[in-house]
Symmetry: C2
Subunit: 357 residues, 2 copies
Amino acid sequence: MLYCLIMAGGKGERFWPKSRIKSPKQMLSVATRKTMIEETLTRLETFIDKSRIFVITNKEQVASLRKLALLERKRVIAEPLSCNTAPAIGLGAILIKRENPQAIMVCLPADHIISKKTRFRRVLSLASHLARQRDALVTIGINPTYPATGYGYIRIKKMEDKKEGVFEVEGFTEKPRKEEAERFLRSGRYLWNSGIFVWKVSVILKAIKEHLPQLYTALMRIERSLGKREARKVIREVYYELKPISIDYGVMEKARENVLVIKGDFGWTDMGCWRAFWEFHKKDEKGNVCQGRSVNIDTHNSLIIGDKKRMIATLGLSDMVVVQTEDATLICPKERAQDVKILVKEIKRRRGMSRFL
Amino acid sequence: MLYCLIMAGGKGERFWPKSRIKSPKQMLSVATRKTMIEETLTRLETFIDKSRIFVITNKEQVASLRKLALLERKRVIAEPLSCNTAPAIGLGAILIKRENPQAIMVCLPADHIISKKTRFRRVLSLASHLARQRDALVTIGINPTYPATGYGYIRIKKMEDKKEGVFEVEGFTEKPRKEEAERFLRSGRYLWNSGIFVWKVSVILKAIKEHLPQLYTALMRIERSLGKREARKVIREVYYELKPISIDYGVMEKARENVLVIKGDFGWTDMGCWRAFWEFHKKDEKGNVCQGRSVNIDTHNSLIIGDKKRMIATLGLSDMVVVQTEDATLICPKERAQDVKILVKEIKRRRGMSRFL
């Protein structure tokens, strides 16, 4: 039986000032009129029943996620604190295992954009087939289109199934430097790591036991408490002692055996920052993406987002990002969009500015 | 007796979005905590009694100017429409003449910044002396410090009074192109035209009669109506038939005889645009002038003005202007600050945007 674990704990600080602690990236309508989490859930409709969809998030977002009609309230779980993906996936695995020890789980980030829904489902079906038949750890890779330095890469070993685009994995690498990324691209043996994984709950828990034994012990402690009164207390205690680590580095890099990757040719976009937002959307004849009320003169290749009441007026801008919300306005060159998180960090540091977070 | 005519009809569109139709540049606190018109009036205190200060403005600004304690209500005159400086000065001249036919009038723009008040008064005293003794048309010139293309220039003939910096005027020139301005600067025979004039009302009216006879006829029609019930109607009728023309081109350029200029060495700044605003104010260690709430990272030589409630966050900006008000945000490179008026023109053209003017 196919289950899904949606990882919705990200803060998406690079989408400030639209993303805030209480309305992070996945709660924004970034690509369509739907929020990103709604897009993610709609994509699963008629494919995985909502009773089998779990969401791992944080205290700040749990209330608004529980209001979504596409989710079951009790399936939305808040971690006491964020410890990256390995603990989140581990916790999801024991929750799903409790309902169905034979379950296969699909781990999905909440904030991807996927334009080809049918192909996406076909890839997930193939992945779950491989996970079931071969006890494989299956990941979805994306054919790289440019030497991105913002993604991890997966090195593929040899062709497994040409038609379906299944490969054995030789290794995972962290975000590379520019020259390295260029070499990866030229070699033709690397895929972007999408962060989408498919495996049996029993197989991933076994892998966690082997490669992250401390996390495994912690998860077993949580598992024993589930259904009891002290469960919430135990989870909190356990989390406060966990080391944050990603599933990529904690498990996938070390699991040499039976790790497969499928080329995910389904129109994947990682909406990582305002620059990606600009790239994704249709441009006007001057290369601008404009939303809200603005007057722009001699302005090119820029992203201009206003709110409803106020207006933005630009003159002589090129390759800039301007995003105005009710209480804050961001201005930066498009090429610095990645660093908006540095700005958010600085706002956190300043006194009397917490209401802007 | 010394009278003053303050020309406060300017729109100051280059200070949008701070300057608006109902709160134009001279009503803004641009240099100090006082508004520019208050600065102008304070500068005259104890020098010209407020009963002898007239203000020529427009319908939009007349009400707020009449509220100023430094002015007498009835001395604030609204023109039915703006026709540049010649009609405004002509109207001021007949109003002052009616009270005192021997009056000397000082014509002052409302939006200059003058740092040396005592020197300023000394220059005006000298100017009024020359106007009285010699029936001269006296103008105040500013020693040019760079080849500005935004000012008119005055070509000086020969030294009149070395110590006091009085020169005979050889001619007025319109705003020059860059190369011409550079030549002017090198020659040492040009001053910037400040737009400050001192003359007897009888002398300027005679000059208007000679060089702008149509305007003179119109002014005489107004003069005859003054004090009568139809005065307001006559003024309106007359103005709707006037040709807009500046006193510089309409009178000063043509009046070859007895035109004098005094070098106004009193710390003059023309606060013409946001770039000038940045130049005028004290900068922080990164060369930024910041007002209001903002967080600025890797931002240099920029002007960042926020309003009270909202915040501005900048990242990686250089030589930029960002001005946020309650309902509008301007973003442009500092070097385009002059062209903010083009933006305002565009906002005027757009439907449903008049509330931003």
